[in-house]
Structure formats: C-alpha cells, structure tokens
Amino acid sequence: MNFNDNPFMQEIVDEFCSETSGLLDTLEISLNLIEEDTSNLKELEKFGQVIDRIMGAAKYIGATEMATFCELGKAIGYKSSQINEKALIEIVVAVLFDAIELLRKMNSFLKAGDDKSMSKLNNKAFLTRLNWLCEKFKDIERSSCTITDDVTLNQKSIDELMKSLGL
C-alpha cells in the first residue's frame, strides 16, 4: 500500500505498523506463557482481546488479510480459552505462533510498502489451517470478548435491530 498522495493515511499506516509490532510482542509473550502452562486459559482470553485491537484498525486501513488473520486468531483464542484439553491447546498455541510470525511479516511489508513481498506470502494455505482450527471449536459458544455469541450482524442488520428496539 502506498499513500504518497495521502500523508494522513501514510501517518496512520506508520502508526498502525509501529503499534502492531508492540502488540505482536505482547501476543507472543502470552503464547509463551500458555506453552509453559496449558491450563493458563486466562492468557488465551487475553490473546483474543489483544489481537482484536489489531483487527479493528487493520480493517480500517484496508489491510484485509491481516484483519482476517486477526479475526480467526481472535475466535480461536476466545474459543479455546473455554476448553481444558491439553493436546488441543498445544496445537492452538503452535498454530497461533505461526499466525503471529506471518502477521509480523505482513506488518513489516506493510510498513515498507512492499506489496510484492506481501503477495508472495503463502497466506492462503495458512488461512486454511486457521479456518480448520476454528472449525474444531464450532460447538463452543463464545467467540468474542462479549457475553453472547448470537447471529453475527452487519451494520444494516444492526440498524434494523436498533430500529425495531425503538432507537
């Protein structure tokens, strides 16, 4: 992505990359803690919360692949925090470590404006793995920081719902 003609957007992307880099460090620390103690499910929940921050901003700046990775990572983090199955958690942690590594690469390519290297990343294969893992948790209800996991709505549906609630 090149924003030479939009200095504000370039500033936003630079800030996003720098902030994301720090958050990826935080995510890695969480994964190390979970790897040491697979019963540390609070840390998995924290993982979901931190990766959610990157997701929101990534969507804004049009870093769609990063946002998708984060979305899946978030769902896996929250859902796996509700199980206590050592073998599965170990797989989760391994896949999430790989996801963080790929996110780091994407982040550095984004920072450098290196679209060519970005397109060479084998993201699709890894996304399939993430989706596969997410699918393993399909029966687990909560996929987010919030209380319930009902039907996911788009803005239009939300507006309709708000309207139906008299707002």
């Binding site: 800030e15 804004y60 987010s144 919030t146 209380i147 009902d150």
Partner: protein, 131 residues
C-alpha cells in the same frame, strides 16, 4: 437541531491508531473539541473530573472491547450516575452480535456502529443521536 462544532467529545479506544482515525473523522465532520482516553478505566475519571470542573463531556464515542474497563461497563457507570442518564454514547465495535446490541441497548447506548465505518456513516449516526 444543529450540533455545535465545539461540543465536548471524548473518544475512548485502546488502540492509538483507532483513536487517531476516529478523531480525524470527527474533525472532518466539523467537530473541534475532542479529547481521548485509552480505556474505559481512564475515561471514567476524565468524565467525572469534567463534571466537577463544570465542563462535562457532551458526547462519548467508545470502543466496546477494552482490557481494563469495557465500553459496556463505562456505559453502565455513566448511566448510573445522576445527571449522565442522557449523555449521548456511541458504541464502536468490531463485533456485531445480536446479543451484544440488545445488551448495549438495555444498558442505554444511544447508537451502535461497526468497524470499519466511514466518516459519512459516523456523521449519520451522530445526526441520528442528536436529532
């Protein structure tokens, strides 16, 4: 009803980039008096302090998912404080789950907006809240 450009706004989000984006959108929309906080836990004392100083915030734009105090808890604190029952509160979230919308509405949210959104959508939401 026209909204004053200098209406006192507080933007609450734990991601610096997001705060900057939202502030920029609000500025584009014409607002000039925008403060920010990085969590519900830091926003709440700011809101209370502003009341004590006699210059209360007139509009809160807050993310839902934050580590110390969520947007929902911030909203609940605000609504349970005398004088703030009607303070306009726009909840921003990356998540759009029906249950959450209902919970936020029950807690007294003024409106709800899903990431990513444009300055135009933000303006429409603000118009809806204030008109």
């Amino acid at each position: 009803m026209a909204i004053k450009a200098d209406i006192k706004i507080l933007v609450v989000d734990d991601m610096t980039t997001m705060r900057k984006i939202i502030k920029n959108m609000l500025t584009q929309t014409g607002f000039t008096n925008i403060s920010e906080a990085d969590d519900g836990a830091t926003a709440w004392p700011l809101i209370q302090g502003a009341i004590k100083e006699g210059t209360p915030f007139e509009f809160i734009v807050s993310d839902w998912n934050m580590p110390q105090m969520s947007g929902l808890d911030l909203l609940k604190n605000i609504r349970s404080t005398p004088g703030l029952e009607k303070l306009p509160f726009l909840m921003i979230t990356a998540e759009a789950e029906q249950g959450n919308v209902v919970i936020a509405v029950k807690a007294g949210v003024s409106n709800f907006i899903v990431k990513p959104f444009s300055a135009q959508v933000l303006k429409e939401k603000i118009d809806k809240i204030f008109n």
